[in-house]
Every structure is written in structure tokens, then in C-alpha cells.
Symmetry: C2
Subunit: 437 residues, 2 copies
């Protein structure tokens, strides 16, 4: 009935584009300073030889991030502005169907992270009588730093898919912690997909299209959106503030410290007994949805807030010190003989020196999910952290915090999950290929 | 107990800053191209003499937008990337308390839109023994294009505050429409605050601090976050796509067309009978939360999608035409004798030419509120539109759509509200001052 308009050439149309052509090329000329700067950043990124999972330091927020590499992108990748995280259950019992989906997903992720559509047919290439192969809301948008990271939950290794013998000993369900207020509708999942991008529409598009490709094989269990530092307003030298108004992440692991990453984040050859050979180069992801009771916090005095956190609010320095990155002095005592950094402060309890050197790579996002029905913001931190062994890193740390942290009066853990994120892939390979071999 | 660290000078600290000093000054030197460009944009904006409610065309996404003017900012202001919208109920019956809050809010909005903290004490200036006057999560962030827009709901004009005689005849509750699936927890409100910014944390911070200033006077009824075009990826020449993958807003009113705004958006002197003198220079806001059933849509053929919308998916041209901005030809018929633009297509039913010239200024945002419990995204369009008279503009348009639009199979209106947004303010004046006079 309808006559479709003739195709109009854009130069390089996204549906014809190989995976290395960015959707950005579809954009016309612009006089916006920000866009020009971003395009300049993109060009720098394209020629600058960014490492796996990392944009070149000069790349703008629109630039693509290499999907392939020893490790998956989205782990040590500098945190993008926006997160869409989804946990899925496998609804088929056919191992081959699941493996085929992982292959399909890998191809789609390669395309989308490069700025192309989810499948070759794209927006309109499938013709008028079929649903479009890509849902289209990111058509015309650049790669926007998109990374897509996959993980496998403990229950994937039950008896459904013949994977029980490959289950990493390190991939145990997390134990209950004191004070947990977990909502089962925000917990667990056979699989997870973490999509991060500097444009929320690009992250949402990625998850939506992967979920769509999985219809009949997987179903969404829960999902979470988040936002973080924004690329337009942050520098690599500024620690962002959380919803309690404190700098958060000061002593986080740095992507620029490969020795620390090897020690705390990446599963190595020596971990095969706990993780299996297929996890070498991978990492474990712990996700916790932490509701923050902002209205209660906002009625708390500055001094109490600072004693709860163990840092001063303005600078972010450990109490008794001057600058944010000064190491805390846990031995220092005030005139009253009490420790300057209170015994149950968050900084003291979570500090590596108090936990036998335990560290994590934190990569969480702030969330605000509207209002909770009694007039309070349903907001907080969607805690995401990568590590070599959850039982030796997250679990002891959280036990120490759950039992004593002064912060517990103001936060509540409402969701929880753990996933094994396999290593990165090379062109032509696929996510979890070694697991299913 | 705790010894606070000595203050460290940042140059111009935010807590000492007047309202015209941006939080951006707190940021240190940066080598990021995007940040440098944004700072250049800010400088251009600061010296370029932007009009009320508008950034200078050369201003970057960090720049402040003038709070004062004939009209409130946030109406014809080019849409920022992020929205935090909140509807509130007044919980006091004391008219003076309500008026005092509106004064307090106006001062706080002046400060925050200029990039300063919500109150002069700010993050730490109130001393250790009081809760900080600003919640702090936007400390160090630039103004980020923040606009804050206030509106008054119909029930504010009941017998509580002696405002019944000032109620605009044009401010009627919206009638029920065919197909409405309204959730009362997402409807109505005595007041609304629309905060828009290019950084979600800045928008969330603004709403949170205004709500906090209103404790005991107002309580949150419902809230909605949204995202839209991103300043880093869009140009003023590109129409963004909605979650159905179609360009959305092609024939929207343009802020550059003052005659059209006078005719369709701003309450004028001639409207005093319907709106009262205190609304001259103001506008009415209709908010509708429109859930979009993405999974159903994604199973629909390209042809059917295009017939539902009445435009082609790739270009956004009206069916039978070539380019996005070509006017639709509603008389054209295909070889089968049917109209090329189907009779019940969205474009045809919503077109001004079919509605006696009715137009609205649409300023909606996409939302994704996680998952609905049965594996589907709870996502869609938070429709916001400004107009001179809802009963003569939104109501007849929505009646035409609700009865016939093919799109109704794929969308569901789950929230609804209408507000009277008063005119802008001058320095020293306050929101609604004429209403309470």
C-alpha cells in the first residue's frame, strides 16, 4: 500500500557500514563547539592506537572503544557516563541454542560497540515485510564509548547445560550479610550484560537489541539504569561525589596500575584450580543495589557525616589529614584520646590495610529510580566491582562492613548478584567459547 | 572529637561564590579536549549575551542558562540531556508558609542554575554541628545548562490557601481519554518542578535540594527521570529518535519562531479572562507518562511501523515524500486507491492541519524505569508540552489521537497532570509573587 521513499545517500550509511565505521559519519556538519571538539577527539582516538578496552586519552566521549582484547572491555575501561545493566535467565534447556546465542551476541556487540547497528540488515535493510533487524533508536548516534560486558551466574552451571564440571569454585552465591534487605526480584540471574556508554540511549539500545536477539533463549530477570561522572564535566583528576555528597572512589584501583590489576582483578594461570582454564583473563563481578536513605542523611550534622565516612566532606581527605589522596592515619588520636578516624568509620573498615590487603576494582553507578511511594527518593549506588575471587575479596570486606560500619544506618542492600566474566575475545571468536568447548 | 582539616583554597570556592560564579571554577586544569572545548563554550556563553531562558548558540553543555526573564527558563530553552521532574503536594494549610517557600525556592533556583550551591552555607559553611545547607553531590560540577521551572496544579486553588478566586479557567483537570490506563500514583500534584540539565547529577541535585528546603510544607507525590538527546552527540539540525526508532519532533514548534510561540505557547494579555493577569507571560504544562510496548513494536514489520507513524523510518519523511521536513501530502493516494498516509496514522491525526491549526511546544524525554516484573522494559516517553490553553490545545488533540491512532496498540498512558507555569521573574522577585499578592 505504502510507497516507500527512495533511499537518500548519507555518504556511508550505517546499514552498509562495516563494524569499524561509526554511526557518527551519518551526522551532518555542525557548528557546535562541543561536537567539533568531540569529533576531533574521535579522530585522535581512531589514529592514536587505543589499547584493548580503553579509549585513547585524547578520545572524546563519542569515540569507539575496542571490543577485542585479552580482557573484556568495560572492566578497566574508564567509567562511561551511563549504565544499563541487565540480568537474564536462560529459558531454553538446549545447550546448542545457548551457545548459538552467545555467538550471535558477540557479533552484535562487535558491531554496536563500533557504532554500527546490531545486525547487518539494520534499520530498513530487511525490507518492508519483516521487523527491522535493529530497533533504530541509536541510528545516527556515534559509538559513544559503548562497552558491552558479559557474565555467567552460578546457576548457569547446574545440570541444564552440561556445564557443572566447568563451574569455578570461586563462583559461589554470596552468603547472607548482616542487615541485608534483599528483594528477590533484584537478585541473581543466569547471565548478565553490562552496557556502559556516554549516551544513555546508546546503552539502552545495546541491551534492548541483545535481549531481542535472545527471545526464546533468555528472558530478562531484572535491570538497572545508572549514571555517573559525565564526560562533559569530569576530568581524570577529579573524584566524583556520590549522593551523600562525598567523594567516592578515592582509593579505588587505577587502570594505570597493571600490577595491581593482575593481583586483584584478573584471573591468572595460577587460579585455574579455583576458576578453571576458561576463566584465565576474566574477572568476577559482584553487583549490589545499595539504597541510600538521603532524607535521613540530609538531617545529619556535617560532623557526624564526616565521622561516618571517615573523610572530610569538602576535600575528601581522611580525617586529620589535609588532602584527598593523603593516606589515612589510623593511629592518630584526638585530644579526647579517641581515634581521629573513628573505629567504625567506613574508610577505616573498608581500607585494604585493615583487610589483609584486599582490594577491588569498583565501577559502580548512581541510580535514581523515582520515588518509593512514601515521598522519598528511591536512589543510591549500584555497586559494581571486579575481582579475582569474590570469596576472598568481596565477602570478607562486606562482612567487615556489614557488622560494624556506621554507614549502615543510612544504606540498605536491596539487590545482589555475582557473575563470572570470561576473558576477552579475538575477531572471529565468541564470548564463552572456551567454556562451551 | 574530630579535628577537621584546614580549609584549602580553590581560588573561588563555591561556598563563597555569588550566584554568578559557576562551580566550574572549582575544577582544576584539564587536558581533556572535551572539557577544554566546553570551557571555551562557557566563556562564549558568559560574554555572548544569551537571551532569557536560552544559552548562547556557542555555549557548551556546561554553561549556565539565565534564570531571569519575561518567561521561565526550561520552556523554550533548547532541551537539555536530562530531566528530573517532580510533582509535590502541599502539606501545610498556612498560606504564608507556602509563599515563604516559593521565595526560598526562587533564591535557591537562582543560585543553582548559576552553578552555585542551593544556599549560602553550602557544603560545609554551616559548621560541624548542623546538617550542611547543600547536599553536596553537585559540588565541583558546572551549571550544566540547568533550568528549573515551576508549575501550579488545579488543586492548589481549592479552599486551603485563599487562591480559589485566582484559579485560571484554563487550568482544569484533564478529562478522561479513551484507552487511559492511569496509575493514580503517577497523576496530579499541587506543584511541579521540572529540572533539566546536561548532567543528570545536577538535575537530581536541584530537585533534591528544593524538596529538602520544603520539608514540612510540601511532600513528593511522584517523580520521573528522563533522558533525551545528548549534547555531545546531537546537533541543532538533527531530530532525535524515540524508542520506536523513529525521528520524533520533526514538526515541533521552534524556539526561533517567536510569532508561533506567542500564538501557541505564551499566555497573553488577551487571555486574562481565561488565565488571570498573574499568568500573563506564563504557559500551561501537560505531562503524560506514555509507556511504549517495545517488545510488541519490535515484532512489527517495517511497513506496518511506517504506516502506524505515517513516516518512513530512515529519513523520517512523511510517507510518499522524500525528506524529513517535506510537508505531508494527505490527499495523495496509492495505486490501490488508499491514502499514502493512512487515515489513522499518527502523523495525520496529530497534524495541525487536521486539528484547526492546533500546535503545542513539545519538550518530552525518554524514560527507562527498569523492568516491569514480567521481563519487559518499563520504558517510553515522558510527554511534556507547553501551551496557552490545555482545553483548546492538548484536549482536542489527545481526543483525536485516543479515539483512532494506530499507535494506541503500542502505547499506554500511565500518568497525567496539568500545571499552570507562571511567567518568569526578575532579580529580587519570586515565583508566583503576583498570584499571592
Amino acid at each position: 500500500m505504502t510507497r516507500l521513499p527512495e533511499p537518500v545517500s548519507h555518504g556511508a550509511g550505517a546499514r552498509d557500514a562495516g563494524v569499524h565505521v561509526s554511526r557518527r559519519r551519518l551526522l551532518g556538519a555542525s557548528t557546535s563547539a562541543a561536537v567539533v571538539a568531540a569529533a576531533a577527539g574521535l579522530a585522535a582516538g581512531a589514529t592514536g592506537g587505543a589499547g584493548p578496552g580503553q579509549a585513547s586519552p585524547s578520545a572524546g566521549p563519542d569515540a569507539p572503544i575496542d571490543f577485542h582484547g585479552e580482557h573484556q572491555a568495560g572492566i578497566v575501561t574508564p567509567a562511561q557516563d551511563h549504565l544499563h545493566f541487565v540480568a537474564l535467565d536462560v529459558v531454553t534447556t538446549d545447550r546448542a541454542e545457548l551457545a548459538a546465542l552467545l555467538r550471535t551476541w558477540t557479533r552484535a556487540a562487535e558491531r554496536m560497540t563500533a557504532g554500527a547497528e546490531a545486525a547487518a540488515g539494520g534499520l530498513v535493510g530487511g525490507g518492508p515485510h519483516r521487523p527491522p533487524e535493529d530497533t533504530g533508536e541509536a541510528y545516527g548516534l556515534p559509538a559513544s564509548g559503548l562497552t558491552i560486558t558479559i557474565g555467567f551466574g552460578p546457576l548457569l552451571f547446574d545440570d541444564r547445560f552440561g556445564l557443572a564440571s566447568r563451574k569455578p569454585a570461586a563462583l559461589e552465591e554470596l552468603p547472607p550479610f548482616a542487615g541485608d534487605q534483599l528483594d528477590s526480584r533484584r537478585c541473581g540471574g543466569d547471565l548478565c550484560i553490562q552496557a556502559c556508554a556516554n549516551d544513555p540511549q546508546v546503552a539502552v539500545h545495546a541491551v534492548r537489541n541483545l535481549v531481542r536477539l535472545g527471545v526464546g533463549v533468555v528472558a530478562v530477570r531484572w535491570s538497572q539504569l545508572g549514571f555517573g561522572r559525565t564526560s562533559s564535566t569530569s576530568t581524570s583528576h577529579t573524584t566524583p561525589r556520590n549522593l551523600f555528597g562525598f567523594k567516592d572512589g578515592t582509593s579505588n584501583l587505577q587502570a594505570e596500575d597493571p600490577e595491581a590489576l593482575t593481583r586483584h582483578v584478573w584471573v591468572g594461570r595460577g587460579d585455574e584450580a579455583a576458576s578453571g582454564s576458561w576463566m584465565v583473563g576474566g574477572s568476577y563481578l559482584v553487583a549490589r543495589r545499595i539504597r541510600m536513605h538521603l532524607e535521613v542523611w540530609d538531617r545529619t550534622s556535617l560532623q557526624e557525616q564526616q565521622e561516618v565516612i571517615g573523610r572530610d566532606k569538602k576535600e575528601g581527605a581522611p580525617l586529620g589529614r589535609i588532602r584527598e589522596h593523603d593516606p589515612p592515619d589510623f593511629a592518630a588520636k584526638g585530644p579526647d584520646g579517641d581515634p581521629v578516624v573513628p573505629a567504625r568509620s567506613h574508610v577505616r573498615l573498608a581500607h585494604a590495610s585493615r583487610l589483609g590487603g584486599i582490594r577491588l576494582l569498583r565501577r559502580g553507578y548512581t541510580f535514581t529510580d523515582g520515588t518509593d511511594g512514601v515521598g522519598h527518593l528511591d536512589a543510591g549506588l549500584f555497586f559494581l566491582a571486579f575481582m579475582r575471587h569474590p570469596g576472598r575479596q568481596f565477602v570478607p570486606m562486606q562482612r567487615a562492613l556489614a557488622g560494624a560500619d556506621l554507614l549502615n544506618e543510612y544504606v540498605e542492600h536491596t539487590g545482589s548478584a555475582v557473575f563470572a566474566c570470561p576473558p576477552g575475545t579475538a575477531p572471529g571468536r565468541w564470548w564463552g567459547e572456551e567454556l562451551f568447548a
